[in-house]
């Protein structure tokens, strides 16, 4: 649904463009309590593999050690690697990644049992922050997001109000990135907006 609003779509239309515009223009009283926005067009790579050579090759190519402890992350200046399972990671590349770079990574691991897939468009990221961020998220997930349990650098695949998400905590303000399927993003955004009303609106 594209309306006549003066939105800059020169970079393309993101899954949440329409909703984020309305949200930013609406009456928000205190953004230090809770704020959210969509992180546009981050590059994302699904990475699968398990043998020693795989870890070595990835480390050489990307200059990052993939985390092997469940629900942890590793990062360098450009890439964040999120542990998804014992043989699966999500690489989030900021600001984005082009097809050639992914192809180059695929070629680099093509001789071993491993896979790198460009999934940039499968997920979108909702950035959630503020003093009440944990209170809002806790309305939809049973995971204990308190800093003493979850904390900066932790990630978890779970459901947030029935939507499958990956929650990644960036810092202890706290700030979270919530990766959600592009097709479900609108549903989750609306839930977040509704759940945060008590902290955001007058």
């Amino acid at each position: 649904m594209i309306t006549d609003k003066t939105t800059d779509y020169s970079k393309g239309l993101s899954p949440l463009s329409e909703l984020t515009d309305d949200y930013q223009n609406s009456k928000i009283t205190n953004t230090s309590e809770f704020s959210m926005n969509e992180k546009l067009f981050l590059g994302k790579i699904a990475l699968f593999g398990e043998d020693d050579l795989f870890f070595e090759k990835i480390s050489n190519k990307l200059n990052i050690s993939l985390p092997t402890t469940p629900n942890t992350t590793a990062n360098n200046e450009k890439i964040t690697a999120l542990w998804l399972s014992k043989k699966e990671w999500l690489l989030v590349v900021n600001p984005s990644i082009d097809t050639e770079e992914v192809r180059s990574l695929q070629n680099h691991i093509s001789d071993i049992h491993a896979l790198a897939l460009d999934v940039s468009d499968r997920w979108t990221a909702i950035n959630v922050s503020g003093k009440k961020a944990i209170d809002v998220l806790s309305k939809g997930t049973a995971i204990d997001l308190d800093n003493s349990v979850f904390g900066s650098g932790a990630c978890a695949q779970t459901t947030l109000w029935t939507v499958n998400v990956i929650i990644y905590q960036i810092d202890e303000k706290p700030t979270f990135d919530i990766f959600v399927d592009s097709t479900m993003a609108k549903f989750l955004w609306q839930w977040l907006e509704h759940s945060s009303k008590e902290y955001v609106y007058e």
Partner: protein
């Protein structure tokens, strides 16, 4: 209820799916129809502590084995596939 995933730790039960009785052994191809029927359909359905398969479907998507008390619906132990349980007596062994 919280289920202890061997990888992710304790998570809400809504993230998991039940996979039936664990450690069923597939019979040889030359088995009788009766043996095959036993393998496909018949389950012990124990009242008490039972070994089961579970999958963390909305999390790390890994299968694991669990000992669950079917009366109290509590998990006594979970283990990664291929790993042995620590010494525990269940009603099916």
């Amino acid at each position: 209820m919280l289920v202890p995933c061997p990888w992710c730790g304790e998570r809400d039960e809504s993230e998991f799916s039940f996979g039936g009785e664990a450690h069923l052994e597939r019979p040889e191809d030359s088995c009788s129809d009766k043996e095959w029927t036993e393998y496909i359909f018949m389950r012990k359905n124990i009242k008490g502590e039972q070994k089961e398969r579970w999958i963390h479907i909305n999390g790390c998507r890994q299968w694991f084995n669990a000992v669950r008390n079917t009366t109290t619906n509590s998990f006594l132990q979970t283990s990664k596939p291929g790993k042995n349980y620590t010494d525990i007596k269940t009603n099916d062994n």
